[in-house]
Amino acid sequence: MAGLQLAFKKYNVRLGIWGSPFIGFRNFIKFFNSYQFVRVVGNTLKISIYSLIAGFPIPIIFALILNSVRAERFKKTMQTVTYMPHFISVVVLVGIVVQIINPRVGLLSTVYSALNNGRYPPDLLANPGVFPHLYVWSGIWQTFGWNSIIYTAALASVSLDLHEAAQIDGASRFQRMIHVDLPAIMPTAIIMLIMRCGHIMSVGFEKVFLMQNDLNLSTSELISTYVYKVGLSSSGSMDFSYSTAIGLFNSIINLILIIIVNSISKRVSETSLW
């Protein structure tokens, strides 16, 4: 972590980390003023908030409806199948996405050309407008089953008496889901939501980097990929200290978010990370 001082220095290979001259906040100012700043931070926030809004309720809904299934075997099958994509690696996931939307041989092209007299569909990965949707929905496809486990576990502890009482009062299964099951998992859901909010500025680097290409860069360039490009990529300028400064800026915002969110969580639910 001593390397963090790089953020405040002008790195010089010959002088090393400790010997390089101190330049204060100049790296940070350079980043705030650069034309990339708005784009990179904006893209990060957009993708992150989009995946939060789209991805958060789905596991909850899924757990709720799965919980009301009566056929035990069907339920087990659903669980086994929906947990499976979680074990697929990012590389393979992106590989699957690329293969399926491949304009020449993919599934999409088969369907598209059948509907449009044999014409090939446009290349979706080259379209910056489509990138967030592809990113978010492929993520949801991969993780909603896995993320629902925690709600399933919480639902398993719902007292039977409540269901019985509600049934005697004439509540339908749907009403019981809304008035019995949902309140029972609300605390869990709130904690999960708070923890997700703490990570709003950090979008996993790995998947974005794999899905990125020069054509969709205008929506797919995020803080983390930008840090990599500026700092380590051979095509970049190898500006170590500038890149470190951007990374540090991101880390600090994350840390602040987590601290804020944790203190809110402490008050709301008496649950906290530390």
């Binding site: 590389v91 496809w141 925690i150 019985e164």
Partner: protein
Amino acid sequence: MTKTEEKTFINKNNLSISSKGSKKVKSPIEDRIYYTVIYTLLIFILLIVLYPLVYIVSASFSSPEAVTSGKVVLFPVSPSLAGYKAVFKYKDVFIGYRNTFFYTIVGTAVNVAMTLMTAYPLSRKTLPGKGFFTFLFTFTMLFSGGMIPNYMLMKQLHLLNTPWVMIIPGAIGVTNLIITRTFMQSNIPQDLLEAAQIDGCSDFKYFFSVVLPLSQANIAVITLYYAVGHWNSYFNAFLFLSNKRLFPLQLFLRDILLLSQIDSNSVANQDTLVAVHGLADLLKYSLIVVATVPILCLYPFVQRYFVKGVMIGSLKG
């Protein structure tokens, strides 16, 4: 899922079934609509999740022509093993497989051993400076130096381009550490320790003959998490390795699947090179299957521990 939880599940189902069977409370029309809707929805979800997987597997077993002309829709078209033959003739895949197996097995062993050794003292109430150590660990979870300082650190430790860079830096996953610590705190009764101490049991003996056997469920879960992590990781390798002989499978996958780079040096002879290029699309499907199946084999063994593991980790963490 524990047995009691399973029982609750079953009871809940019995409840609704019995109420349906009894004459006083009829299953109202609302309920029937509700069940129709959710079953339709669930089957729809099932199809959405399964279809891409089935499609990939089917495509990988089809003939190259069928894949290139996009004829595969659900089942393999003119089944052949051409794709798999091409995969196994491809030298990079072997190197990748070997390295990934090495990283996964050694890495997971190191991970699990280190995590257990760290978690146990942290789970004991009497450890001096416990809060401080816990803080140190969780702090690294929340805040890290970032990509460049990490890179410089690896460089100065002379770990760049060695297999150890894949194993040592992530030797303890903090989330798994917390899961394990909490598991030990809540599932191993304090009385057991006192009883063992009265009988003159040393700490080491207690750890090996009491704590470890009692933590089986937890060990299964973290082993799975670590193994999946190692198997699927490409990013550390991507940053820290430049020697191709050390690359894990996922990096080769990235080259082939996403960059469509097929290395002519790693194909045995010119004929197979031509063949491989003709098979490029088919090869990708087969590769996806070959790279994913081994880790999915772990899945049935640990499936029953999932709910437990996730519960401990996220609620009490």
